[in-house]
Symmetry: C2
Subunit: 138 residues, 2 copies
DNA sequence: GATGATTAGGGTAATGCTAACTAACTTAAT
DNA sequence: ATTAAGTTAGTTAGCATTACCCTAATCATC
């Protein structure tokens, strides 16, 4: 029992470090009060290449005007910009700015920072045994 | 480099398991679209014992009517109830129901479930070395 | 009279919609 | 090949709902 408790504390610490890292990233971008929903949309845009307004409307199950409004807001926040399709003048691709991408990938980045910290505090052999231990959890 | 990447994947998996666990808890409670803010309030109520309306107003830096409304909403969601003070008829304590407590502690509970999974997949000795390894990260 | 909670009534912003429109493309008929 | 008639992509206008917060007034209790 004591071991589980101990492990709990250790992990709580790790998770705290990670969430501090992601908050850091949001405030680095000057977007401390971005919502979970907004981050979700940025992730969708990040994950699907060449997203158009209609496509995003379908993916997120929203109307086209809703998407227009959302993208306008993101554009004002300098997270996205429109890129006109060279083949079809009606179509605009929604592209993430560097800032938009940073936000979309903040969780990933935060985890990476934590991994860096780990790597700094242990040697190759220890890393290896850590991986072996955690790999088993399903 | 490869080791870090590997560790990244392993941790990503753990985090995914944990967030699945907390989503599970919210949907077990029939509150899949509860907001972060609401969870925050429930946590405040959970952490401070004997919270009154005025006290919660002070803690959260909101007006009393705002608190009344918030608590009414939580009461409708069956997350809290009022308990009249035996000493002072003007005072009501805000108490979490079992459901409210489950929500307030969902993150904690989710982590516990993951720890359980870990404990299931390794022996005492392995647990010990895992703790030793992760303890170093600051 | 002071204090704790509520009620009444209001404001703003987020988030979503439908309907109508413009611009750009496609098709089909001449 | 041209042009008229659709179709499609995105935008605009206008509206509804909900979240979230307030002040002022009220009621009950101390």
């Amino acid at each position: 029992m004591a071991k589980k408790e101990h492990l709990f504390i250790v992990f709580e610490n790790l998770i705290k470090i990670k969430s501090e890292c992601s908050c850091e990233i949001f405030s680095e971008c000057g977007l401390s009060d971005i919502t979970m929903k907004q981050i979700g949309y940025l992730k969708v845009i990040d994950e699907h290449g060449d997203v158009t307004f209609s496509k995003l409307a379908k993916i997120t199950n929203h109307s086209k005007p809703t998407i227009t409004e959302m993208i306008n807001k993101f554009a004002r926040m300098q997270c996205v910009y429109r890129e006109k399709s060279p083949d079809d003048g009606r179509i605009y691709y929604i592209r993430l700015t560097e800032k938009g991408q940073r936000i979309a990938r903040a969780e990933e980045k935060a985890l990476l920072r934590v991994i860096e910290k780990m790597a700094d505090s242990m040697d190759e052999k220890e890393m290896e045994s850590l991986i072996k231990l955690l790999e088993k959890v399903r």
